[in-house]
Symmetry: C2
DNA sequence: CGCCCCTTTGAACACGCTCAATAACGGTGG
DNA sequence: CCACCGTTATTGAGCGTGTTCAAAGGGGCG
């Protein structure tokens, strides 16, 4: 079966090729879902399990009066459910945070494969364990952690989970969730999430720009949030790996074939607003100054700028590195 | 295998006799655990699953600085885990809220039985589903519900779950958790739980006395708490049964062979403090007044008093009905 | 009888919320 | 290239829910 399917699941569960093939054979069809549409709706009977191939989704529940709680985020490679039980009524909905592509797996096919492939059965049980564990950690957050800790903890969780699937570069990742979404997840108001983001920024722990989050000091952010990666059940975490180092260089870069690429298009205005006078003098050294179509600015070879950003000499600019297109050879105009 | 084992599991999962026997054959040993001791400790490898035979337990997690969050309550008939995955490190602890008796089940034996008994496999999957669903509902509570709603919702959850196993009589159940425990579960302070209990009492929705909770108006309490029993995955709930009526008369009374019986010993002082002048005149009609060993008081045949209380003519006294010993023939001295 | 745990109550305070206004940004159509 | 629109982010002020600290009372249990 197609590469694009086996890639996400391979990252998640360490299956052999033959098991991966068996798993992929259970896929019935693929769906493309628009951002903010529902993948599954509460109250409906569960008819199949979906594997997220690209994009983000979120589990949520709603009260009659409209209050909404996000119960967890689903990243590429995640399953909407981890046990092939057919027909029960869903107690929560799953919505698409971004446009997304997912593969639908019938319960029956998966159950059958589980019988002949104990490795898959075990992988699913492990998935269920991890999902459940993350839910418990969220309970811990909502019940005991302060606003700052909650936000920091969520960022750490996403940092690790995204790192696992190769979607963190230079300590920076894309966060398609709005502050309103984060508020619904953290049990806070939108305004408060904004303030807590500002606090983390002032502490020098994170930097944000246009749906990108840069973690300046992972260790310190984790300490502040009482975050310990054990509960995610990553082998890297258990063997003492720490942060980026554990999933960095060795892995292939993320295969961004989803809608994220849309927000990767560099926008002149956005980039320029992030830069200060000091940065422009540095840029002048890197490239050749000139006048771009965005007005007065600088044309810098993408590869050079990217290398410069990733050197992390300038922390704030590193946060921008994710904004550049994948084609490093092209010239970036700023 | 012994009745005392099959009874709780039979209530939980609707298994045939032969399946129940198979399930019971997986039980390795029984343990007796003192209140506030741990059944399982976070960080240790999972070596077996425990079935609670009597008493209450609770899942919890702790932060380094001591903050503690209760993640859920385990009632008689509940399993500490619902998937026979061996050897992973536990991400949370399970503590004994009361003295408790539990049966230990080895992962291997259970996994083997699951292969030959699909009904058991399915029952376990259903258990996992229900546990997970309750966790999600708790996330909803902690994230979105106000203090009053949270407390009300928890009481409703316990009312239904206890009713399912026959531990609710006359809309009244034993609640061994202290207000401090409830606070740790609801993400509130002990003081606030106390105040919210007072609020529910003033609203005439519940009544409390010595570890007993009486729900005066289930429907109204559920409405106040945005509680809908669907998520518990009880067939009674799904078929439209409502409250006590669904699990009442037909079922055998709870077999209270646990430490709850300790708090069932009627204490003169306690009972008398709950009564008012009007009650004493009623008591005089029911029994014969006299002088008990607790000072001036009344001797009332237990059966008569119990019947009186259960008639629910006097709501407040109904709350006391659970305080009487099981031997209805004996005379209660008040 | 005395100790200790649990509950209850009061007062001051803080975290987080609501309301409201403004700014920033992306997308769209002219 | 620009103006406009809807969404998202930011900031301020006032307020309310829930917290902390402290003290007193009730009840079980040794």
């Amino acid at each position: 079966m197609p590469m694009t399917v086996s890639a996400p699941i391979a990252r998640l569960v360490d299956l052999e090729d033959s098991d991966q093939d068996a798993f992929c054979s259970t896929i019935r069809s693929r769906r493309r879902i628009s951002a903010r549409d529902d993948v599954f709706k509460e109250g409906f009977a569960s008819r199949y399990i979906s594997l997220i191939l690209s994009g983000w989704a979120y589990r949520y529940k709603q009260l009659e009066d409209g209050r909404q709680q996000i119960l967890g985020f689903l990243l590429p490679g995640d399953l909407t459910e981890a046990s092939p039980v057919n027909g029960y009524l869903l107690d929560h909905s799953v919505g698409a945070l971004t446009d997304l592509i997912c593969a639908d797996i019938s319960h029956e096919a998966l159950a059958t494969v589980c019988l002949s492939r104990p490795a898959i059965q075990k992988a699913l049980a492990g998935e269920a364990l991890a999902m459940s564990s993350i839910q418990r950690e969220w309970l811990m957050s909502l019940g005991q952690r302060t606003g700052t800790e909650r936000l920091g903890h969520l960022l750490c969780e996403l940092y690790w989970r995204l790192g696992r699937i190769g979607s963190v570069q230079a300590e920076t990742f894309t966060l398609p969730a709005t502050q309103g979404d984060l508020a619904a997840a953290l049990g806070l108001s939108t305004v408060h999430v904004c303030r807590k983001f500002a606090e983390l920024r002032e502490l020098g722990l994170v930097q944000t720009s246009w749906k990108k989050v840069h973690i300046c000091d992972v260790a310190q952010l984790q300490a502040l949030s009482c975050f310990r990666p054990d509960y995610l059940y990553f082998s890297e975490a258990l063997t003492g790996g720490h942060g980026w180092a554990a999933h960095g260089p060795g892995r292939p870069p993320a295969h961004e074939d989803d809608i994220f690429s849309r927000s990767n298009v560099p926008r002149c205005r956005r980039l320029r607003s992030e830069l200060e006078a000091a940065d422009f003098s540095l840029l002048r050294e890197l490239g050749r100054s000139g006048t771009s179509h965005c007005g007065a600015g600088y044309s810098v070879p993408g590869a050079i700028l990217k290398a410069y950003c990733q050197s992390a000499l300038n922390c704030r600019m590193a946060a921008l590195s994710g904004c550049f297109g994948r084609n490093e050879a092209s010239t970036i105009k700023i």
